[in-house]
Symmetry: C2
Subunit: 198 residues, 2 copies
């Protein structure tokens, strides 16, 4: 249940409404812990009813401003210091596909890996300009946001390098699988020898 703690964390920077929080999610937490409107409002309600946050003021348009309580702050710290984060990257569709790359041709498998390298490269390009945006903000998140950003850059670079390596690896391999299942027009002859060992 990390959404709960994400909200406590954001509110610990200062009071905010559900609407405000949603924007913060979109701006700074989007790549780390996305949340939808339904989720945020529902969880705020639950947090309020368990006393971890409270409504501090009601503005126009029914706006409710929440602030974290001492109990909430304590819970946030407990979460940060006394519990281990769950496994990172528990599921990866990208890697799942890798397992079944034997079902398509060598060319297609190579194309897939090249595409993953590209996506890594693109991600680096998209992340880079965020550096300045983060420095510009000066809420308490910016310092730590920079650390998270760096993680993203390193992750993307790792992804790119791995994919390029993997493509090389594939080429070094005999085409015993990958070709046999896929070529619709394959004759009996062993025409599948695309493996050139350099």
């Amino acid at each position: 249940m990390s959404l709960r703690h994400a909200l406590l964390g954001l509110l610990s920077q200062g009071p905010a409404s559900g609407y405000d929080l949603l924007k913060t999610f979109d701006i700074s937490l989007a790549n780390v812990w996305p949340a939808t409107q339904s989720q945020v409002y529902a969880e705020l309600g639950r947090l309020a009813s368990t006393g971890l946050v409270e409504v501090t003021s009601e503005g126009p348009r029914g706006r409710k401003e929440y602030a974290v309580t001492e109990a909430g702050r304590a819970e946030l710290r407990r979460w940060l210091t006394e519990t281990d984060p769950g496994p990172l990257a528990r599921r990866s569709e990208m890697l799942l596909r890798v397992f079944f790359l034997g079902e398509v041709s060598h060319e297609q498998a190579g194309a897939y890996l090249r595409r993953q390298a590209e996506l890594g490269e693109e991600r680096i390009g998209k992340l880079a300009p965020l550096r300045e945006m983060i420095s510009a903000m000066d809420d308490g998140l910016s310092v730590y946001g920079r650390l998270a950003l760096e993680w993203g850059m390193r992750f993307s670079a790792m992804q790119r390098d791995w994919a390029l390596w993997a493509e090389q690896e594939l080429e070094r391999l005999p085409a015993d699988r990958g070709c046999d299942r896929d070529c619709e027009r394959k004759p009996e002859s062993g025409a599948c020898e695309e493996a050139d060992r350099t």
Copy 2:
């Protein structure tokens, strides 16, 4: 809906029962796309009713052996070649915490990052022996499993290096946040200036 494709992929290596598939999930796909018993049996039912797999034989103890159909194989290839994988690592509890590290002391923040570096190192240690296990198996997954394993090793190394770097970064920073909120035994006196917004 990747579980569906994971099952199609596993069955494309040869027919198997739900029970067999579960074991394969535990052995080779555990770190990439874990699945529970409930999920597997339910999804097999759905796959069978849409004609992507079929029951090829019924053994003792009610065992049903499934095989992928031509339609299923086509769907698997379509998934592999014509769709892009969703974003990797959409949520990271580990990184979410990083955003809120300002709520605890510098020491605690440092300890957190050091722990993450440790976990990365440990993961490398756990993954290494898998290399041999994978070479030993000779189903079609082993070749591509090696690629996935390498991803895990690189990922873990990245995690470790990043965490060590981040810890260094923290130390270079003035302790303006991190102390003010955390001292439990703080007296009323304004030693810590916590109430900048009261």
